[in-house]
Amino acid sequence: METSDTAVREGDSRAGKYLTFRLANEEYGLEILKVREIIGLMEITGVPQTPSHIRGVINLRGKVIPVLDLRLKFGMDAAEDTDQTCIVVVEVTFGDQSVMTGVVVDAVSEVLDIDDEQIEDAPTFGGGVETDFILGIGKIKNEVKILLDIDKVLNTGDMAILNDMGESVEGKTMNVAELETAGV
């Protein structure tokens, strides 16, 4: 976590190619280097007794990988799957391991080359909303893309939730703030 943080915040390294996708009516971006592939929605096997934002596991050519619903993860309302809904397979680091994980997004938009000048730090929100998982805000022609530090997104909340799953969540969604505080 720290490494990606310092590498991104300090150098000029925030510039680069981003895969942008849509969640509800917001546009997000993912470093393209983290993306392994994009696949259409396929049958997901639910794993019992897990938080609702964990959709389950899929068979990716013989590998079993977990799939998360990013909408639910961010505390947005669940949406019906459409033919645009797809799974972005990213490679994230959990501790010292690198793990493939799928995230369900509403639709994939495009791959954007974003310069450093186009990226701003995330503003500080009131109410203790953590913005750690946001690499920065990209502004491209009046449009705003929220650039995600996907390692952090997937690391922070989930592990903590699974750790004390006994008493937490069952069908209940958490908002971002809760998620982040749970992680810290």
Binding site: T45, V47, P48, V57, N59, G62, V64, P66, V99, T101
Partner: protein, 816 residues
């Protein structure tokens, strides 16, 4: 006389062995020598090996050829270690020596006719025996210095230790090929293991020549490589041990008692050094090899200096060889009476029995040759199968890919569209594909299997050490070392087995005095067995010691608050108490075991391997731990069941039976908690649908089957919709994200490409205890109590329904 010699040569030619073998070896050496480059270390090592092989084939240490070959081998070694002034000149010397050997062996000249280069000519035999390895004395000089330091970075120019004019003792890893070093470490570790195993063999059979040869070779190889890599401490230790081993090889000393101890210690020290080196590779810095080897070196030197005064160590005559005649009789080639007759009619007294038999036409020469080969084999140990080392990661990937192939194959083979259109030709091809795939799968699985030997070997060593430490006489009886099991299991079984062995020796077996008092033989017995049964592998550790004291265990458990007072337990439950964390019956904490960690760790390890542990014990008679494990961790034998629209796999290992569920089989407690009567025993019933919150799916068979599972302590009934059959599937981990998910142990890819989750029996039993308590307020059940939640309550509530069930025998499909 001339006539006779001709005849002998005639026979010898027919025999083909060992004469032609010698010839071919010498020829080999000669060609190798022409091709060898002075800096080509592998080739030199090979050459060295060939000389040793030659000596072995000559099989007579006093023969001129053998002694010359030995000198040649030493010279090659010096070339490798750069201890000669001119390598080219040394090769020249070797060349002329080999020409001499060729003359004797191939051209059958008398040794007296052949001139060898002076430095390689056979030394006077007596001299050699009195002063073993004179030539190597120079090598051992520098080792006397206590400070041998391995250093990663620049060699600090320290004061050269006394007597080390020739070479500095400091090792410079800088610029060394790290991959070469890493390889050396792995290889040397393997050599240590081999040596250790052979040493163990020698404990029971001190005259085992092939074993001592193997140990010698291991040290020798390590020494050679260490010399090349300039790892002085390792070189020194290997060399010094080798000197001792060489004496053993020559029959001057026998490997037993103190000498065996010291060699064991050498091996251990070698391992320490290797580990140190490994650390050094990773982290750099310095590693004081001198400190590590100091003690053992001192002991070795001491022993070597006084060796002639220790009469105990003199070797006994080796009588273990089977005679050629016996082999022939065993093979049925010849009758015993024939041999006796042949022996009586020998044409000359020193004639070998094989010759006589061939000459008298009683046996074909070929049969004698075969028998000779067998004899040779017996003398030199088993013929080793040829092996290829493979990166385990690659192997795993191969097995994974085969797993996928199996799935892809069944997807094609069971595709309805294809089946509908299939002509005979297509179905024939599909079934052919199916056959090949299965075969490939089996082969893939078999590749991961290794004999449990390596795990057993460590145990044998531990038993030896522990028995000595605790001053008990233990006769260890191993069986089933050849049983094959998945590599990962062999790796993981070591610790649990070790704990059990420790337990047996420390707590189980009594001292000789106590044993005699109890009317048992002085020597305690410890059996360690491995065997296959019903697609699983079993490990057993059994002793004939004092057995588990149930009373003491119960008292202890109460004391520790692990057990509510006034609770009656069955014997099985009492035994399972010792596997609770923080439980230890040893009244005294010894340095061997008894710190209260142990059996719970064993339990955890076995659970992790999806295994099953059972304890049998009778007071005063002994204890038996028996573990049942799947053959492989990569594949699971499971029952595919459906619940709602989901499919799950229940490991067959934990399934006791399964049966059709009818409403009248169910009794309830508090009108919520369900139970089922299985042949008079009430078991709690849990619906997987409720445990996992699975929505119902249009399914007319909902909750119609019950699978009885057993997690060792508890037996519960799991209610599912339908049994879909037995499956063997490759287990895939669900990954870090689900590692806290204890009731699912992994995923398996089903024939339709979807994932079936594998139920973890321990986990689900645990879950079954917690989930219903959320629904109904339930009597407080402690962990132990949970064993049999129904137990306390049955008598009160379920008399009537129980009888109802009992009269009507349910349809039982026994799965195992």
């Amino acid at each position: 006389m001339n006539e006779l010699e001709k005849q002998i040569q005639e026979v010898a030619k027919n025999l083909q062995w060992p004469v032609s073998d010698l010839e071919s070896r010498v020829e080999h050496i000669a060609t190798d020598l022409v091709m060898v480059d002075t800096d080509d270390l592998p080739a030199l090592a090979n050459l060295h090996e060939n000389f040793l092989e030659l000596i072995k084939s000559i099989n007579d240490d006093t023969a001129v050829t053998s002694r010359v070959a030995a000198n040649c081998a030493d010279l090659v070694e010096k070339i490798v270690l750069s201890e000669v002034d001119s390598k080219a000149a040394a090769i020249e010397l070797l060349n002329s020596a080999v020409t001499g050997l060729q003359a004797i062996i191939r051209d059958r000249r008398q040794p007296s006719e052949v001139v060898f280069p002076e430095s390689l000519a056979p030394a006077d035999l007596e001299e050699e025996l009195n002063e073993p390895e004179v030539s190597q004395e120079t090598v051992s000089e520098p080792e006397k210095s206590p400070a041998v330091i391995l250093e990663k970075n620049k060699p600090v120019s320290k004061e050269p230790a006394p007597q080390t004019e020739a070479e500095p003792l400091i090792i410079n890893l800088d610029g060394s090929d790290t991959s070469l070093l890493a390889e050396f470490i792995t290889e040397a570790m393997e050599h240590c293991a081999t040596a250790e195993q052979m040493l163990m063999d020698m404990e029971t059979d001190p005259g085992n020549k092939s074993a001592i040869d193997a140990i010698f070779r291991s040290f020798h190889t390590i020494k050679g490589a260490a010399g090349f890599l300039e790892l002085k401490p390792i070189l020194v230790l290997a060399h010094e041990s080798e000197t001792l081993l060489d004496l053993a090889r020559k029959g001057t000393v026998a490997v037993k008692g103190k000498i065996a101890d010291i060699i064991f210690d050498s091996i251990d020290t070698m391992r320490t050094l290797l580990k140190g080196l490994e650390e050094l590779l990773k982290s750099g810095g310095t590693y004081d090899g001198g400190e590590v080897i100091g003690a053992i070196l001192g002991r070795l030197k001491d022993l070597l200096a006084n060796i002639d005064r220790i009469e105990d160590y003199l070797q006994e005559e080796d009588v273990s060889n089977e005679r050629l005649g016996d082999i022939l009789v065993k093979q049925g080639t010849v009758a015993e009476s024939d041999i006796e007759e042949a022996l009586a009619n020998k044409s000359r007294p020193e004639e070998k029995v094989g010759e006589t038999l061939v000459k008298q036409g009683r046996v074909p020469a070929k049969a004698v040759a075969q028998a000779l080969r067998e004899q040779q084999r017996a003398r030199h140990g088993n013929i080793v199968k040829e092996m290829v080392k493979i990166d385990t990661e690659r192997l795993d990937r191969l097995v994974d890919t085969i797993g996928e192939l199996v799935i892809a194959e069944s997807m094609v083979g069971q595709d309805e569209e294809i089946l509908a259109k299939a002509s005979t030709k297509i179905s024939k091809n599909i079934s052919h594909l199916n056959k090949i795939t299965r075969e490939l799968q089996e082969m893939g699985m078999a590749m991961r299997l290794v004999p449990v030997q390596s795990a057993f070997q460590k145990l044998a060593r531990a038993v030896r050490d522990l028995a000595r430490k605790s001053d008990k006489q233990v006769n260890l009886i191993l069986s089933g070392e050849d049983s094959e099991v998945d590599r990962s299991i062999v790796e993981n079984i070591g610790d649990p087995l070790m704990h059990m062995v420790r337990n047996s020796i420390d707590h189980g077996l009594e001292t000789a005095k106590d044993r005699l008092k109890a009317g048992k033989p002085e020597e305690g017995h410890l059996w360690i067995r491995a065997f296959h049964k019903g697609g699983n592998i079993y490990f057993e550790v059994e002793d004939d010691g004092r057995g588990l004291d149930t009373e003491k265990i119960v008292n202890k458990a109460r004391e520790r608050g692990l057990l509510p007072p006034n609770k009656e337990l069955s014997e099985k439950e009492i035994f399972s108490l010792i596997m609770l964390p923080g439980f230890s019956t040893a009244s005294q904490i010894t340095n061997i075991s008894g710190r209260g960690v142990g059996m719970d760790v064993v339990r955890k390890n076995i659970d992790a391997m999806r295994g099953h542990l059972e304890i049998e014990s009778e007071k005063g008679q002994g204890t038996k731990f028996s573990m049942k494990l799947p053959l492989t961790l990569a594949i699971i034998d499971g029952m595919l069941v459906s619940v709602g629209c989901e499919k799950f796999i229940i490991p067959t290992l934990s399934v006791v039976e399964s049966l059709q569920l009818t409403p009248d089989m169910i009794s309830t407690v508090n009108s919520r908690n369900e139970m089922i009567n299985i042949r008079g025993k009430m078991l709690p019933l849990n619906r997987v649908r409720d445990l996992f919150d699975i929505p119902s799916c249009d399914n007319e068979n909902s909750d119609s089957t019950v699978v009885i599972v057993d997690d060792m302590e508890n037996r519960i009934g799991l209610v599912v919709d339908k049994l879909l059959g037995q499956r063997q599937t490759v287990i895939k981990s669900l990954g870090r994200m689900f590692e806290k998910q204890k009731w699912i142990s992994g995923g398996a890819i089903l024939s339709d490409g979807n994932i079936g989750l594998i139920i973890d029996i321990n986990g689900i039993v645990e879950l079954a205890r917690t989930v219903p308590s959320r629904r109904v307020s339930r009597i407080d059940i402690s962990r132990m109590d949970g064993n049999n939640p129904a137990g306390n309550e049955t008598s009160a509530v379920s008399t009537a329904p129980e009888e109802g069930v009992g009269t009507e025998e349910p349809v039982v499909e026994v799965m195992i």
